[in-house]
Amino acid sequence: MSHSPTTGGLRVERSTPFIQLQDAGRYGVRHLGVTQSGALDWISMYWANWLLGNALGAAVLEITLGNLNLICEQDACLALTGADLGASLDGQPLAPWRSFNVRQGQQLKFAQPRHGARAYLAAPGGFNAPSVLGSCASIAREELGGLQGNGKPLAAGERLTWTGTGLHQRVMDERLIPVFTPSPRLQLVMGAQIGDFSGQSLFDVFNDAWKIDSRSDRMGMRLLGPKLHCRRSSMVSEGIPLGAVQVPPDGQPIVLLNDRQTIGGYPRLGALTPQAVARLAQCLPGEELRLVPVQQESAQDAHRRLLDQWRHG
């Protein structure tokens, strides 16, 4: 039985498994083996919600790589941030990083990535979805979250609805719009096990360019580059934080993202900062990046300053 209403909202005409409802993620249940989930580029999600005056972690649509057609079945104000996926409203180009009005009957389409990988669409008050273990974030593997609560991605024929009014629209200061410059430098908080890697490997990690492998998804992104050597090949499994950079025996690092397994046994260099994870989420396979070491405390100070930008205005 479907709980979605039969009129109003956005009707899904075409979608893919990479288009899912997400929010700030699922917390307080990782000790049960339940993954964190949530929007990969949380910064873009925050802005999408901020533009409509929503709670920053309200449910949004994470649109990875495009190929989405929506029919507007009511007049509304929506917001779009993140990647440029060639979005259009009745054929007219739609620029991200702003709120926009739609009229009943209009078609909202997302084509292919032109800049970045993931766009975020927000609606007044957040999209309606059941809260499952405290979140509506979709995770198909765990059968949790999403429109029906069972983790399924968005499907044709479904309807996205919301309950807010959209009377609190905001405009972004252009200087605050994230720029997805090529070859980004991603900060990595150095972890305790970094000392188990060879001196040459530590030099290579921070001095070579890394290329994103096509074997990448919301669980993790594989990086291709010089082979890294660690004294330990595996360890007793332990909890994995967001952005952890683990190195399996093939010497090629994997950055573990929101849908990662909760525990694992490969040695780690450390973990990307949340800001670096958000930036990585906008990279496509084949793109290059660099890793920059940072200490935990200075990374914390920078992160608190980053969060301040949503507190004013």
Partner: protein, 239 residues
């Protein structure tokens, strides 16, 4: 049981998380200390705790950096470990997991028999006559790593993991045993299937098995498996 309280080694894991290393090796005697430390940390951090993920020898502590500093977190951890007493394992629950041991749902039964030099019936008898301890949850919601499987049955993971394993599948990897709660890929050696529901958002605590619990596998036949609501669909599900 380890007589003295462990002194955790604190290791930076990420911007807002620390690994607390309590032990070097997997031992059943770690559990009372792990449980006691988890309880203390949860109460001392309160709302500043985002997640606490126990594993065999470590705790991953993820705190809210908008509420406390890195230094504050270390002070709370030190306080939580002061005068720590081991939890009484009497608190852990005991479970009987009915299990249909059969080649059709446990294709590694012949392999386990061959490696151990035992008959398949003896492999089943030995797997089901031991009481296992839940060491940790992970891999998937409600997936409990249990041990220790007796040395004779210890078998390494399959070199090529299966892509989709039916829920309820019971497997062995090295000296651990587990039940797959949901359809997932996996490389454990399968010897049967249980109709037990391991993860259910409608039950208290969501996960049937919790760290510190004790578990026995109880052999049942196919008819009983079906009667208990077991799903005998093929081993490797296609969709």
């Amino acid at each position: 049981m380890t007589a003295r309280a462990p002194v955790p080694q604190l290791e930076v894991a990420g911007i807002d998380s620390l690994i607390l290393r309590l032990f070097d090796r997997i031992e059943e005697s770690n559990m009372p200390w792990m449980l006691a430390a988890s309880q203390r940390l949860r109460s001392s951090f309160g709302d500043a705790l985002i997640d606490l993920v126990p594993s065999y020898t470590t705790l991953l502590l993820h705190y809210d950096l908008e509420r406390i500093t890195a230094l504050g977190a270390r002070q709370l951890i030190a306080a939580a470990f002061a005068d720590l007493q081991p939890a009484t394992t009497a608190g852990g629950r005991c479970h009987n997991l009915p299990t249909w041991y059969d080649r059709s749902v446990g294709p590694e039964l012949p392999l386990l028999a061959q490696r151990s030099g035992l008959s398949e019936a003896e492999v089943i008898r030995r797997h089901s006559s031991h009481e296992y301890q839940v060491f940790a949850l992970g891999f998937a919601p409600g997936f409990a790593f249990m041990g220790l499987v007796e040395e004779a049955l210890a078998t390494p993971r399959l070199s090529t993991p299966r892509k989709r394993i039916a829920p309820g599948s019971v497997g062995i990897a090295e000296r651990q045993t587990a039940v797959y709660p949901v359809v997932s890929p996996g490389g454990w050696n399968l010897l049967g299937r249980s109709p037990a529901k391991l993860f259910d958002r409608n039950i208290d605590g969501y996960s049937l098995l919790q760290p510190g619990d004790r578990v026995r596998f109880e052999p049942i036949d196919r008819a009983e498996f079906i009667r208990l609501g077991g799903d005998d669909s093929p081993l490797e599900m296609t969709q």
